[in-house]
């Protein structure tokens, strides 16, 4: 059996007046049928029923005003005889709602005298106790009474209220604000610490000798969290634009090969050093990309400090700055780059190297990807990504030839530069790499 209740026809509706019944006891209703009209402050609204069956009782008379949720009618299963259905009115409403029940024959008069609509299965409690329960927001359902015949007493309700306020097992430990702060900073697990402070609170002194959190972050996790924060900020704040350019690396690589033949093994250059130097030289011509965004203004870089994205074996990423990449010979730059990368992997970077980069260069070509769409490392305003140098069909003098080609992607901050400027930067980069001897 289902109840048809006074519906809530708006967030501000507390009660409604049953205007008119459109059905009578014994009528069949189907899900969606309009069965009553309810008058609210906003007008008369037709109300539909959500159960199918037979109307077994109309509990509220026309013109009666009742709170939202009050049962208005009982809808029985189709074909079920009304006589076999016991009356059940929830306890909460029973006191205030006038009930007009078509009493089924099987319900004995004896039971009815128990309380004129009281919940026969529900908890037993005096009105005063019910009121107290309501005040303390304690549901009587499920409370075991300690009074006569299991009646719920005022004390039962108040105890239940206190029990409810108690912290759910260990979730909220009593600890002073200072000690909580210390525990957070030192990653101390205080759940098993015995408090000696006022009212048994854990104080700073109690934390001495407490174990560190088992789940204390490893340096690698910390690094990953920092990366997450920086990249989230970049994606949230920086309006990125991207331009991509394919560069013929044939000349540069040939030059490098010849150069390396003249050098001892300890002086050999890698192609990366050409890329770093050419980026620095291109930035000389397009300095708006070599800068940092400080809140509302752009601060031009005080040099061409290229952050090298160095992945750490086993996870993690750092982008220390290779300072003044436009200066010194390629060999010197190579030596500094080797030193920086080695120290980055050994975890021996200097703090200045972690913050002074004015642009970042990332190369994933070693792992074979064709191109990279990198995210700017705030507060920088640009990042250059190199893909793999792959042999590709390339048109030279109307002839298709095989050439080593690299795809370069510039990601830049649109608050500081625009795609046109970015494209010109990549063009400059291309021209510089066609004349490697001048680098």
């Amino acid at each position: 059996m289902a109840e048809f209740v006074m519906p809530s026809l708006g967030a501000d509706m507390a009660a409604g007046t049953l205007g008119k019944w459109l059905v009578a006891v014994g009528d069949r209703v189907a899900h969606g049928d309009i069965i009553a009209e309810v008058e609210t402050d906003k007008g008369t609204i037709e109300v539909e029923v959500f159960n199918s069956g037979v109307v077994e009782a109309l509990l509220v008379e026309e013109g009666e005003k009742v709170p939202v949720g009050t049962p208005l009618a009982e809808i029985g299963q189709a074909g079920t005889a009304a006589e076999s259905v016991p009356v059940s009115v929830p306890a909460a409403e029973s006191a205030s709602v006038p009930v007009s029940v078509s009493v089924p024959a099987s319900v004995s008069a004896g039971i009815m005298t128990l309380g004129g609509g009281a919940d026969l299965d529900g908890p037993m409690a005096t009105p005063a106790v019910r009121r107290r329960a309501h005040e303390l927001d304690v549901p009587l359902q499920g409370l075991s009474g300690t009074g006569e015949h299991g009646r719920i007493t005022r004390e039962d309700v108040e105890q239940a209220a206190v029990a409810e306020v108690q912290p759910p097992s260990g979730d909220r430990v009593r600890i002073s604000p200072y000690a909580r702060q210390l525990a957070r900073q030192r990653q101390i697990d205080f759940t098993d610490v015995r408090g000696t402070g006022p009212e048994g609170a854990i104080t700073a002194r109690d934390l001495e000798g407490a174990p560190a959190k088992a789940s204390a972050e490893s340096p690698k996790e910390r690094m990953q969290r920092a990366i997450a924060a920086a990249m989230t900020r970049a994606n949230d704040e920086i309006p990125h634009y991207y331009v991509e350019h394919a560069i013929d690396m044939g000349t540069a690589l040939e030059w490098l090969r010849e150069k390396n033949q003249t050098l001892s093994v300890n002086e050999r250059l890698v192609s990366g050093v050409l890329l770093v130097r050419s980026v620095a030289r291109a930035l000389c011509k397009h300095p708006q990309l070599n800068a940092t965004w400080q809140g509302q203004e752009v601060i031009r870089g005080d040099g061409f400090h290229v952050g090298l994205a160095v992945s750490l074996r086993g996870g993690g990423l750092v982008a220390p700055a290779l300072r003044d990449t436009d200066q010194g010979s390629l060999s010197e730059l190579m030596a500094r780059m080797t030193d920086l990368v080695t120290r980055a992997r050994a975890g021996a970077l200097r703090s200045s190297e972690m913050t002074s980069a004015t642009i970042t260069l990332t190369s994933l070509g070693e792992r074979g990807v064709e191109s990279v769409t990198p995210i700017i490392f705030p507060p920088q305003v640009a990042i250059v990504g190199f893909g793999a140098i792959l042999t590709r069909p390339w048109v030279v003098d109307d002839q298709i030839v095989a050439r080593p080609v690299v795809r370069v992607t510039l990601g830049a901050d649109h608050r500081v530069s625009n795609g046109h400027q970015g494209a010109r930067f990549l063009g400059t980069l291309d021209r510089l790499l066609q004349e490697p001897g001048k680098l």
Partner: protein, 341 residues
């Protein structure tokens, strides 16, 4: 501010003498009267009687009736006259017998002295210094024993000082007269007779900053005026039980030296505020709220307040003692904050 908040031990330096709080105020009064012809003292019984607490004894004879003026028993009149004199270019020092009586002059204070600079767009200033006794302990009953200085500390536009030491009693009066704004000085009636080191020629320390009277590391006892001495006694008692209490003397009640309070509690992580006013709406409440707002994560225990029971101060000795903050209560509160009370 670069101020050394660390305590200066209470020893008698060269040039210092031991004198009373009352004598130190009189020394300051004489000096002001001698050095500045604009200065005059005015109040009930300050002349022939020598002041209700005998602070101005002998000054009438020395400076004459023009400069030591006995007034009718009407606080609103003579405080108002002082405000007028200050507006007119004088440097009046007004003595009100006790803070209890000063209520009659509150209209002059709140509606004239405190607002004149503001309402005149800075054209008028009111360089008045008002001294009055406060506090209980002499069995002079409810109408002479209340601590209402927090009512004054509530008012923007005036400044409020509470000297707790002999030196401060002298220095603060000099500073109050020198200040271009109305300054109210609350002298706890139990302090007039205390003795302490006093150097009349010492460069006065700024009256607007709190002082550490007793250094400590376990708990801060924050007090002002008469309560400072009770806090000092409590700190000495606690020391015997190896509890290191720091006593902060607020000195200025408006402006409050919040940085000093926060700095001390950031060292000790526990605070007991001692205030002879009633707890509800007291300066102790203001300090507690400041700590909760600005030093929450430094607190290792709930803030405790030791204040006067919320009753009119009784006449009977045992009841008066029971109503006021006393050393055992301060000790108990300090221990409770350490978790072993």
């Amino acid at each position: 501010m670069g101020v050394d908040r660390r305590p200066r031990p209470p020893h008698v330096c060269e040039g210092s003498v031991v004198t009373t709080y009352r004598e130190a105020i009189r020394t300051a009064l004489r000096r002001l009267l001698l050095e500045d012809s604009r200065v005059f003292l005015m109040g009930e019984d300050v002349g022939r009687y020598g002041g209700a607490y005998a602070v101005s004894k002998g000054l009438l004879e020395e400076f004459g009736e023009d400069r030591i003026r006995d007034t009718p028993l009407c606080e609103s009149t003579f405080v108002g006259a002082g405000i007028g004199a200050a507006l007119g270019g004088m440097r009046p020092i007004v003595e009100v017998m006790t803070v209890n009586f000063s209520m009659l002059a509150l209209d002059q204070v709140v509606n004239n002295a405190a607002v004149m600079r503001h309402m005149s767009g800075g054209q008028f200033e009111v360089p008045i210094a008002v001294r009055m006794a406060t506090g209980a302990g002499k069995q002079i009953a409810a109408q002479h024993s209340h601590s209402l200085e927090n009512w004054y500390a509530y008012i923007p536009g005036i400044k409020v000082l509470a000297p707790a030491t002999v030196q401060d009693a002298h220095d603060m009066l000099l500073a109050a007269v020198e200040d271009p704004d109305p300054v109210f000085i609350f002298e706890h009636q139990m302090l007039y007779g205390i003795e302490g080191p006093f150097d009349p020629k010492a460069t006065p320390s700024s009256p607007w900053q709190a002082a550490v009277r007793h250094p400590g590391s376990d708990v801060s006892l924050i007090a002002y005026g008469g309560s400072v001495h009770k806090a000092m006694t409590a700190a000495e008692e606690l020391e015997k039980e190896r509890i290191s209490a720091e006593v902060i003397d607020l000195r200025s009640l408006r402006p409050l030296d919040r940085p000093a309070i926060i700095s001390s509690v950031s060292r000790t992580h526990r605070a007991v505020v001692i205030d002879e006013a009633w707890k509800t709406g007291s300066l102790a409440s203001e300090i507690s709220a400041t700590l909760a707002e600005e030093a929450f994560y430094e607190l290792d225990a709930p803030i405790a307040r030791v204040c006067t029971r919320e009753v009119p101060i009784p006449y009977a000795k045992h009841l008066e003692d029971a109503a006021l903050p006393q050393v055992p209560a301060i000790i108990e509160a300090a221990k409770r904050s350490l978790g072993n009370g």
